[in-house]
Symmetry: C2
Amino acid sequence: MAERTRYLLPEEAIPTSWYNVAADLPNPPAPVLHPGTHAPIGPQDLAPLFPMAIIAQEVSTERFIPIPEEVLAIYRLWRPTPLHRARRLEAALGLPERVRIFYKYEGVSPAGSHKPNTAVPQAYYAKQEGVKRIATETGAGQWGSSLALAGSFFDLEIKVYMVRISFAQKPYRRALMETWGAQCVASPSNDTNAGRAILAQDPDSNGSLGIAISEAVEDAATREDTKYALGSVLNHVLLHQTVIGQEALQQLEMAEAYPDVVIGCVGGGSNFAGISFPFVREKLAGKPVRIVAVEPAACPTLTRGVYAYDFGDTAQLTPLVKMHTLGHTFVPAGIHAGGLRYHGAAPLVSQLLDEGLIEATAVTQRPAFEAAVQFARTEGILPAPEASHAIRVAIDEALAAREAGEERTILFNLSGHGFFDLSAYDHYLSGEMQDYEHPQSAIEAALAGLPSIAD
Amino acid sequence: MAERTRYLLPEEAIPTSWYNVAADLPNPPAPVLHPGTHAPIGPQDLAPLFPMAIIAQEVSTERFIPIPEEVLAIYRLWRPTPLHRARRLEAALGLPERVRIFYKYEGVSPAGSHKPNTAVPQAYYAKQEGVKRIATETGAGQWGSSLALAGSFFDLEIKVYMVRISFAQKPYRRALMETWGAQCVASPSNDTNAGRAILAQDPDSNGSLGIAISEAVEDAATREDTKYALGSVLNHVLLHQTVIGQEALQQLEMAEAYPDVVIGCVGGGSNFAGISFPFVREKLAGKPVRIVAVEPAACPTLTRGVYAYDFGDTAQLTPLVKMHTLGHTFVPAGIHAGGLRYHGAAPLVSQLLDEGLIEATAVTQRPAFEAAVQFARTEGILPAPEASHAIRVAIDEALAAREAGEERTILFNLSGHGFFDLSAYDHYLSGEMQDYEHPQSAIEAALAGLPSIAD
């Protein structure tokens, strides 16, 4: 019998509940504050934007929240996702048998990433509450595509405000959203007051995620039939992603393995939370597992930001949340190829870092792409540039264990494929890609703009 | 317990042999003829181009040919591929339970199609025989990508001659091949006599598959360390694809189903052969299964061509094979969006059609894309345009069974995903795509150029 490469679970093994790490946190989460009054907000403040079921999940402290059968029925189109033992990568790295690398592969979803894990329930709950239409923003398009897919499953109208520079550079992403029946417009657009105001000042504006958020929020807040949806950062989004780590636990048991270290890349924090929160629970129960969040050095929220109250968007429209942040005016350098460009990080991820339950590290983009190419040439799969940050650290952990003569079992989340990111690979392979770390002065300038909130 | 959506097999269920339909044909295959002398050729004539193990498979009449463990080890990266019951599509079509649609999904391979099923063994046998380098041609890039992937697994140098117009229009395909370590040049190139001769006449030549084949064959024939590889048409290529149908048989058994009709799209014939040849065997053993090959109306080899000896390439360099052909000078219209643009069809597929064991039909591209969009909006997966031809016929078969009040179980091969084909989807969704059927006069003109061979 040959050595096993993939660990596949039957449909029945798809988790039937999402795991809510908020139930197990040593300290309660910091309250979310109104952007104007700085007073704690309640569910009713969020009601214009989100379905009530989503708001309930956002503030829930229940440990397990059942997954509706209608959501499970769609998860079954691609879940359980495979867990791979990276045998060919291990061989290329010259690892002894005591050092093992496993990866959970979320690129098998129809949209090619983990994002549908939350897009589907968000669309489901909206449909349940009579919502006809969802507005959202997207940068490079992963999230917008996934919500378009989810909208097609529940016959919801989806309106995606896509950052104009990406809209122009990535026409295929727009075509993908349209194939799934969504409407996608370049942001700033003429469809909202926020968009028109920007265009009046600068008709050639390239747009930004901050502007696109403003447009989508305005759209949802001003239309009775429409809600808003977000693809990362918020508690309920992270909650939905925990199917990843719950499946991985079952699959590692099949492999008779337990990870010494669990690794995920962080932008807003959702794929990291998905793979790691079930292991945070294990750690709180006494298991000696290290959990490592990897971010790009070009947007070093967790490693060089501060843990403080900040706005979720540039325009200061969102509530204030306590999180690791570089300041809501921070803009990553244009030379950064991958995603993971958010100025903040999910409050739950930030709190876990603050409480010492997880670690964080940053890598520059050339070493990340070097790892991605080595991975593609051994394991076959072309990784999304975001996930390549996790691959880099997984490889470095393996090589360190080899050198130290230690046993080490490594698990990382391969959150998506890179078929839409080949221009970045081309840039790397041509030798033109530059490493970049944000200068301290620029970070300090952005941090100086943080709102002043008494703890 | 919910109704099952996907039928997943364990790694042990990957077939350990390829099925060779040549062992079961009622009549022996027509001999392959030398392009100059028209005399039957032998293995030695092919030795400059192909590894001996591949030549032996090309002419084998053994029913089962064992798959080497080294090939199985790589198949395990993505095989067994899933079989899906298309429950959401069935619901959208309003089908009663007695009409069922299943599809085998080959897009889960790292290259996104069925092509690695043969690229991997072709690279393996080349490596075994001391080959250092493989030359090949590619049109849109599916095959070139797959051979690049296979080359990375066996540390072989891969040189891909890519039709210049596609090279210019699809830079991401080139970047994908380069990420897997292959060299990809636009054809006609300055690297071969054939390429230089074309460029001398027309420095702005867009290239063609015929020219690219000439370059790759010349490259392989003139270098001691290099062999040639082809991604469809030949017997050994079809042989390697039979893992698809063998797995599907096991998965349908899990589903307690047996197909009344098996459907695949045909360009050269390899994905069609992969899903259908194991069912041809069943049919020869008495099972009443219909087997339908679907081709584009823009390149109607099986439905409007003749069954005759012809060259495999425009330049008349290849041996003569008896096949369904539109004539080696036939060129599909430029408005045809998908692949499946070959003037001939695999000799084995052609013979099965001639002997009445399979059927053939042609569809135009708008109905094919209409089916693909309906599929994407229900099943989630974005189909490759090639596979959309099979989806169209699967839907039509289902609707016909619904109308007729009959039971019908339908199986089709979803040979790949469409993430690299979104410009074609964009073209369709914009309403600009036109249907096209080749005029009879043009087909007759191409057929007039067939070589005259006594039967």
